[in-house]
Subunit: 239 residues, 4 copies
Amino acid sequence: MEVCLLEHTPEPDSLIAAAARICYSDVAARDLREREVGRLSVRLLKDLWRSGHHSPFEHASFTFGVDGLSRVTSHQLVRHRLASFSQQSQRYVKMDRAEVVTPPSIASDVEAYTLFREQSLAAYETYKSLVAMGIPAEDARFILPHGWETRLVLTMNARELHHFFDLRLCRRAQWEIRELARLMLGECRKAAPVTFDLAGPSCVRTGRCLESRPCGDPYKNMEDLLATDKKQANQNQAE
Amino acid sequence: MEVCLLEHTPEPDSLIAAAARICYSDVAARDLREREVGRLSVRLLKDLWRSGHHSPFEHASFTFGVDGLSRVTSHQLVRHRLASFSQQSQRYVKMDRAEVVTPPSIASDVEAYTLFREQSLAAYETYKSLVAMGIPAEDARFILPHGWETRLVLTMNARELHHFFDLRLCRRAQWEIRELARLMLGECRKAAPVTFDLAGPSCVRTGRCLESRPCGDPYKNMEDLLATDKKQANQNQAE
Amino acid sequence: MEVCLLEHTPEPDSLIAAAARICYSDVAARDLREREVGRLSVRLLKDLWRSGHHSPFEHASFTFGVDGLSRVTSHQLVRHRLASFSQQSQRYVKMDRAEVVTPPSIASDVEAYTLFREQSLAAYETYKSLVAMGIPAEDARFILPHGWETRLVLTMNARELHHFFDLRLCRRAQWEIRELARLMLGECRKAAPVTFDLAGPSCVRTGRCLESRPCGDPYKNMEDLLATDKKQANQNQAE
Amino acid sequence: MEVCLLEHTPEPDSLIAAAARICYSDVAARDLREREVGRLSVRLLKDLWRSGHHSPFEHASFTFGVDGLSRVTSHQLVRHRLASFSQQSQRYVKMDRAEVVTPPSIASDVEAYTLFREQSLAAYETYKSLVAMGIPAEDARFILPHGWETRLVLTMNARELHHFFDLRLCRRAQWEIRELARLMLGECRKAAPVTFDLAGPSCVRTGRCLESRPCGDPYKNMEDLLATDKKQANQNQAE
């Protein structure tokens, strides 16, 4: 999977702080063009988030390009309704390479991987035969594996991204959407360091787990989260 | 595919008319408990819809149960963001029957059907083998065909349903979501006849097609739409 | 202020439990028509809510009629975006009675009340003079007090209602929207006792306050919340 | 009223075209970083919009600062739910200047204006007296005129902006929100000329009026709209 930040609202931290200031002080909207993020803004953003005043975080929006995600996971991803998606259509674009995402649990088991790979290729052969027989691509795709790769452009604002990172970086989240979230968070932290220093699953943000069935191995902090998952990702790639 | 209307806001036509009345006349909200739909309300609802005052239609909500929809189509369905979905999880529920939706274009071609069916069963065998080898069900499902059946509960309000029917009853929509829309519209017309007498693709509603690439065979009217698709559906079922 | 529950999805507790069951078990959607809420459902709904699986609560929707709310507060109310509103228009309906909501802090102070009342009447006289001079009602209303009464129909689903009650029943919320929330919660608890037994501000739900500037006087429990506010409301009415 | 574009997604036209391309062609998401808008993109954006494929327009977002809008109109503005708002609070910020928006119909009539102005000042005096008597600002504001000025930061994406311009630039829309829409459209046309060349009320976009009660004087084209309203705005300012 590959994730890139295509575009984002310029100066997100500073814009969010400015929007918050208009709510609680006597400053003109036109004067918000000139602004800076200093210590006060860092404090302001943290206070806002912690006290539940999340709406100013909606003004900054982030657009990502994602390649090599499975359709299993894109199905789950598009359940986030406060977001915008443009996804490669399997109705209009014919599949012309055998591209299936292999889950790490399968990639790391030779026997399972062999089975999985053979079956993927057989499904792709059937797809091609059906298309050759005149079946429309939009119908032939019913036989492709659910793990087939897709690509998409997705936009979320910083508030929804926080919500996304809260849910999807939890160890109990499905591994692929967790990896997507980790890569997106990396990009976000470069573009808006103050805003996304506050993001993460509840174990990282608050030290407490809110899941009814905890994973039993909460992240110690953000570094732990990023390091652990990077190691896991490298492992996956190696196999 | 099977669709049933599980619950809906009682007396939808009358509630929508009442909500519209509060906007434009001097009537107390508490007096809206007693109300009736007569000729004036039919006229009122039609005028509202045609002049683009659609917000009163949001007060009536409809909850459907859907069985036997493919995950190809549920992926498309959940792109409707002004809606609520509860869908059977393939993470937590193990698949224990070989259930794939067969597109009509495949069902009606013996050779294609044979190929499709064999591949579906082979994919299911691989799924079971992977699970037996200790691969988690949530990973093994990557090999299941995308046309695998799912079930879900879905809620939309009458405004979003109109939007859904507009898009998804068009002949250029994918056949399975079109069939879903037709079955949902049938249920809606029983529960709220005035509200849904106004629904349908633009050819039915206005006599004009707005697609850039028209199908060339617009529906003449609602009866044509319901009859045509019913015939097609019966055909599908027969095969 | 007067609040009535105009309509709601029938059997909300049972519908929400059914929608949750389809996610995590192998039950057909069509079989959800027959269902009951027993002990297991109470437990299920509580577990769902507490572990953050809130989406099944969206299937049940509640439509309220509200009379005698100020436009100060309706402005705040319509900021809830996952909701539907039909509000009396001041563009199309001429105001023909001097109806202003009096805040309790003013109602309980004779001098303040006299000033407030005189000014309200003077503003209304100006409104009538402007209309008599040919100024359109939609422009003359600019002079009416912001506390002018309005009426509206509002629909929210159970998930958004929980969010609304969480925010708006907090003692730091503005008094009028807090009173609205209290009256709405009363109606909801009759219609869906299990679902709304879980609602309230964080002090009531969890025993912890999450505000950055706590009120210092958290509610002890739901009874305390309902009793305290009822007393306050009676007091307001008496004056 | 003053409107400024505080920030927007960089290169909106090009980003929207790129997002559309991923849906219908075999291009990698990572390759969308390099892109250009040429003739084909202009054609692509127009085709997308006209054929109702509006979702790619959601990826570009625009954040405005607005000063000097009445609370009458901000109440109407925040009814747009697919948008983000941060508005000056009258609970936390004390009003310390008599600032009321004067509708043109009043500004252009000496007698009406005198009445309106006197009443505004009297209301403001009452507000100050109430605050001096110890009434909280959040309650004293109930007596301020509904036309009181507010300021806010607002973000909408290009799809919602199209919807906003469609509704709010119609001559039947209220004059102040129409003026706001005109100023916003001016900013948008500079930042994303292709995208917003397609915007406007239905008379401008399609030559047809869809209102049930047409104004009888549809705009001939975009230039007519901008010129007419500019003249009207100058007139208003002169008075």
